[in-house]
Subunit: 224 residues, 2 copies
């Protein structure tokens, strides 16, 4: 999976599978969501986080960039239904930071493989073997860090020849049931889209823009 | 074009045409943009706007809703290149309000037909006959007005059974050359995405979110 050509192939195959579920041309404009009560939630051993200052983090990004080039992260937009409204699954770290589930790709790893690996690590019981159960759908948006010390933007100006980080958001459709097993030091939350929209202060620019990125889809609440 | 089935047909046909231009599976993730200097800009007679107060407007929306139901507007996201950066075409009304080109559908009119008609009215020389020259692409997002007096949101809560207005944004790809003929009382502007992003105060929530909606596309600047 180490080259661009293969990556496109993998994504195309995933798209074909999605379309096979329905004869409708517009299938990919729809998202079926299931009640939160369809899912089981458990916990597993804590994940070790690097406890570091902002300047440590910048130094780590710099040395990683020197070694591997552009840092690419992939994050999942996963929806469930609660009170008849779509809720976004978010992970909360240390009662403060909210994150979409996902993380950094390994060098040469494809977006889809990397996102499946990260979702299994943060949301499933076993780290290996069940990664393909995550149905990674279309890319919803991309955010770029133009330089180590700057914020993320949803565009790349021509003056930025060597961006330092790219974060890609993918829609991940859930099946009708699933066990979520979350590391003890993370909290998995379901937050209504109404609360997230334009709420930069609490959720940051990427998460608070997710309701807009989803707005072109028709979201079907499935009664089970 | 008065029923849903036909509308889906028209959109599917448009999508097929777009895909025929290239054998790449990922074609629809790309947008080719051309320098502003490729285009000719002229003016034509002013369009008459309804000069009304906010309460006049709400009353007009109410009586239109009673007669025709949900008001649906379609708006175009059109890009050109300037200083090697993508610029969004906006119409400015009375030196203050910025708008995406587009407008309200007639009862029973399809999204694509209505957007072509509105683009011809606001951006082309003749009102009829050349409407099909607008290549209306994918829907990027939708905004809903839940009630006459409320703002627009990119989602529809379950409590809102009868939304009053829906605004749909479509990507419209320009050809390599085009004459834009704009009513005298409107100004056509090309605004860089960098200036629009999160600039709610100047551009409002819909336009200021457009850079995010475009972020999943790879934008190719075509040298001519």
């Amino acid at each position: 999976m180490g080259d661009d050509h293969m990556r496109v192939g993998v994504e195309a195959a995933a798209a074909a599978t999605v379309n096979d579920h329905s004869s409708s041309v517009d299938h990919r404009k729809e998202v079926d969501i299931y009640p939160l009560s369809c899912y089981y939630f458990g916990s597993k051993e804590a994940i070790v986080f690097k406890d570091e200052t902002l300047s440590d983090r910048i130094n780590r990004m710099k040395s990683n960039y020197a070694a591997y080039g552009l840092r690419t992260s992939v994050e999942a937009v996963i929806l469930v239904e609660l009170f008849k409204h779509p809720h976004l699954l978010l992970l909360q770290v240390r009662n403060s930071i909210f994150k979409l589930p996902g993380g950094r790709l390994r060098p040469g790893e494809s977006d889809v493989d990397g996102l499946r690996r990260k979702l299994s690590r943060k949301l499933s019981a076993s780290e290996d073997g069940n990664e393909t159960e995550w149905e990674v759908g279309e890319c919803l948006g991309m955010w770029w860090r133009h330089d180590f010390e700057t914020l993320l933007y949803p565009y790349l100006p021509p003056s930025v020849k060597k961006p330092k980080e790219c974060i890609k958001l993918f829609l991940v459709r859930l099946p009708e049931s699933r066990k979520f097993i979350v590391p003890k030091n993370l909290k998995l939350l379901a937050v209504p889209l109404t609360q997230i929209h334009e709420n930069h202060k609490t959720y940051g620019p990427i998460i608070s823009g997710v309701p807009q990125l989803l707005s072109k889809f028709s979201i079907n609440i499935i009664d089970t």
